[in-house]
Symmetry: C2
Subunit: 322 residues, 2 copies
């Protein structure tokens, strides 16, 4: 994704300025806590999508920049609340904010950032973009609650798993790209195409995230590998491994996942089972399908310096190691 990052650098520098400016507050905990999380984000992937979508759709003005900053704020707010909800230890390679400032501050600073996001959208002045991002915020919350109530169900269907990640992850990718397109005055067809690109890209990203939790290394991941397994989270690699090993491993899964009684060797055994059953490979193959579908959505656009880098981003989603 280096090509896209270089192309978007001037715009993203201004998005960064907006982010810094709007996370400020006379209450000192707020910028400190927000900065801890926001500074840890190297990629700024979602606001990058808003900017790139706007530019691909021919937008030349600054309308997309405030929306891009708003998208990053919505994302950061959901991360803060997620980490409280999941009692996560690490985020973006740093100690999770709630472990430093406490869960109450994380909840309230999340609310602050969420409200700031809407102030930025009002400043951007586009009611249709506001509608898209308000709906996305609601869908994300619904996806999080659904995940909360179903995340330990080892018989979760692949369909429901995909429904959850479409809501909790892909919806913001979709809305980020669509809001960018709308701010550029793109036609409804092109807005839909960029929404589709964002959604498929988001599903691919989450599938690869869920695979990396079994195949990645803590040093590059920015969180601990094996967290999902230790928490008994029903992600696709695990669901497929359980399904494919069948009765032969039932007592192993009952102990390690249902009752969450694990010892140190268990995670290595799970990695082995995933390789043997092809559960990891199937997850990555599905991610590749979504990435291909994302690229296909870009066919709605003619030649543009932005199209190739956005296609490359879809490839990057699948091949990345962190």
């Amino acid at each position: 994704m280096d090509g896209l990052i270089a192309l978007a650098a001037p715009d993203m520098a201004r998005v960064d300025g907006l982010i810094r400016e709007h996370m400020d507050s006379p209450v000192p905990v707020i910028p400190a806590l927000a900065d801890h999380l926001i500074a840890g984000s190297a990629k700024r992937l979602r606001p990058l999508l808003t900017v790139a979508a706007a530019r691909l759709a021919g937008g030349r003005d600054d309308a997309c920049l405030k929306l891009a900053a708003a998208v990053e704020f919505i994302h950061t707010a959901t991360l803060l609340h997620d980490d409280v909800v999941d009692s996560s230890q690490l985020r973006r390679g740093r100690v999770a904010a709630h472990l430093i400032w406490g869960a109450p501050s994380s909840v309230l600073v999340g609310d602050f950032l969420f409200a700031r996001a809407f102030e930025l959208m009002v400043a951007a002045g586009s009611m249709p973009a506001l509608e898209i991002l308000a709906r996305a915020s609601r869908v994300i919350a619904e996806g999080e609650v659904l995940q909360l109530t179903r995340s330990h169900d080892m018989h979760l269907s692949q369909e429901l798993y995909l429904e959850i990640i479409r809501a909790k992850t892909a919806e913001l990718f979709a809305a980020a790209a669509e809001a960018g397109a709308i701010s550029a005055g793109a036609s409804p067809d092109r807005c839909r195409a960029l929404r589709q690109y964002g959604q498929d890209l988001g599903v691919a990203f989450q599938l690869v995230d869920d695979a990396l939790d079994y195949s990645g290394e803590a040093g590059t991941l920015g969180k601990n590998a094996g967290d999902d397994f230790r928490e008994g989270k029903a992600t696709l690699p695990l669901l497929l491994a359980i399904q494919r090993t069948g009765a032969a491993e039932r007592s192993f899964w009952d102990r390690t996942v249902d009752r969450r009684e694990q010892d140190e060797a268990d995670f290595d055994r799970v990695r082995d089972l995933m390789r043997q059953t092809g559960a990891l490979q199937s997850t990555l193959d599905l991610a590749s399908d979504y990435a291909a579908s994302a690229k296909a959505a870009l066919q709605a656009f003619g030649p543009s310096p932005w199209r190739g880098p956005l296609e490359d981003l879809a490839d990057f989603a699948v091949i990345r190691r962190s």
Copy 2:
């Protein structure tokens, strides 16, 4: 406030319909948890302000109803998050939601309601009203964080105490009334007057709430009397009592408030000290001043069936027992 409730009943029935409709979700926990809190709200004071402000300002259409429902959702979201942050046991006479569904669900359903509020505002179609309520949401979060970091400071100045309650409580009253006025197409002067009315009313309400925590009865309060004292919360009655008893009671306050080592007789002693020093009466007197200021703001309006009941509401804020 019975007159206002009767006058607004047809509008509020429709606001209730919007609230019911928009708290629905295919994820079953969401309407269940939201209903637990929303059904416990008898007064619906903040959306009532939006409707009454719109009608007083001459608005005859439905524009204010969606904004009123949005205001109730913002309020409910902040209550859900507050109760998690404060580990409260009771809310509106019911067991706090996080004790039934868990803190994670309360956080996420709060996010859902907050997002729904913005969807309703988009549907209302007024960018100025959106701006007012987005800013209010941000100011409330700042006030909550400020309270979190300073709420146990027994040397908090009255000025900073008022700044906190203006942000965490009065801002939503102010925004609720102002958004109603704006939706009715009121002049900037009248929008400002209704904002002032809402803000002063909100401060009066919070001052009386803080007094009732020392003078009220659990049966009528909908929460436990003495909660603020047990949590060592620096509210005005306590700050004044500490200030006015001076060195004579220092060791009592050090033990019960700073170190929070309390036995059952301590709360009765605090009530006595508050009566002796006039700390409760001074808090209620200040509330009366704010209520009078709220009523004065209504002088911007000529004769209207809504003006008298809104004046009565300001009186009710001070004389109420729950």
